[in-house]
Point group: C2
Amino acid sequence: MSASPALQAALAEIATEIDARFDQFLAVPDDPRADLYRAMRHAAIGGGKRLRPLLVHATAQIFGCDRDCIARVGTAIEAIHVYSLIHDDLPAMDDDDMRRGKPTVHKAFDEATAILAGDSLQALAFEILADPATHPDPFVRAELTLDLARAAGPAGMCGGQAMDLGAARAGFDLAMVGRLQALKTGALIATSVEAGAILGRVAPEGRTGLRGYARDIGLAFQIVDDLLDVEGDEAAAGKKLRKDADAGKKTFVSLLGIEPARERSRLLIDQAIAHLRHYGREADLLRDIARFVLERDR
Amino acid sequence: MSASPALQAALAEIATEIDARFDQFLAVPDDPRADLYRAMRHAAIGGGKRLRPLLVHATAQIFGCDRDCIARVGTAIEAIHVYSLIHDDLPAMDDDDMRRGKPTVHKAFDEATAILAGDSLQALAFEILADPATHPDPFVRAELTLDLARAAGPAGMCGGQAMDLGAARAGFDLAMVGRLQALKTGALIATSVEAGAILGRVAPEGRTGLRGYARDIGLAFQIVDDLLDVEGDEAAAGKKLRKDADAGKKTFVSLLGIEPARERSRLLIDQAIAHLRHYGREADLLRDIARFVLERDR
């Protein structure tokens, strides 16, 4: 971990903040739905880098947005991310037993509860975004909702996950792996930065630099993920590694080789930071996040 | 089927309309996501009573709303309903092979695709509602989104489904069965009427009658479902029946008995229609729907 002091502070703060928000949104009811809420809490609280809420925060604070509003939007996007992990881990999907060093939801509870916990977290995300408590302007709420729904659906995250099913990926070339990852992980990372820009009332035509930044760190993030999958330590990762190679799936690393993949991730991060050239010190946290994406060890 | 001529025409029209909308929203892409879209189409097109879009239509047309807007909102709510059926049919949930006379999605495709098709339809629902093409006023879009997200999530449909898992329901009393069904099916039916009122710009304090109507037909709908589960014909239903009794689950019928349950459903429909007393002929379609809920045979 080579995060700057400012980034370290921001990571610690966002981890506490997002846990507190989920704790509040997911108070366990005293009725037969208790296990559903416990399953949602199991997956949502106390783990993860919270990269997506951090990106919302780092972008929105450039424009001096309200902190409560930023935290709520970050929690909504993280809810989508957490739901996708629950469903990806299911036996019918990646069949993983461990996630973030804990049993996956279907292991700690059961499959039906895991399916419903994921479904519920997706609904919660949109409930948060559409709530007047998140932002006083309904135009902002509707724009946030539209952007997240697109990123989560079949033209975004779910579409990427669908491309990753079955044996097809064994025959993918670099362009197709890039397309898969742009949907599977890139769309939600892009939406996190976009949400910050929406909160900052940046008009779409003024978002070009931020969008370029988000696209480049999203791709770099995935290349580093592929590198960690090959070179990483399972205990540090808190999950099973080398599954892509075992399944014969093409990755950036298997197609490019380790060193060229690492070099490409470095170039992408340089490019991401270059996209921020019109911003001053107020965008330093975004720059720190870009470097962190490259240098993270889990 | 004893639908009035007006209701028969409305049912036929809405069936065509919703199929056409899904056909448009779910154009199959020429890439490895094709099976995901095919699975969504398999579940979404060509089946079902389309009761929820019909309720949106019947309510919104009282207030002279735009037809395109009504159809889009109806499609969004139906997308949530269809996703819930896909996930409920999964082996880890109700483990059903047939739905609407066709193989369930995980049978026609596979479990992973079925999970993703459900997830994608949920995202699509919110994408439709938040889209400026659905309504020009972002306040309306945000209100529709908030209402549907609440109805779909852990305090609505998913929460009801969670209550229905495991053996707990074997010990439920009438109040708990009522609570379960209010969440599992009632919330989405209520949202369909509420969406019509939102489109009609009816202020929340003016929605009391419509909300009473929706609550009563939702409960009657479920009692009739329980009656059909006991007395119905599997070929006509297009799905397996008598599963609740086989699983030892308490239902309105098992707790009340057949004739008292039928009588209660009749009283609820009378009460639902009484809630519409402040409306004239313009609410006749809602009244016809109430009678249809009682007299349907599937």
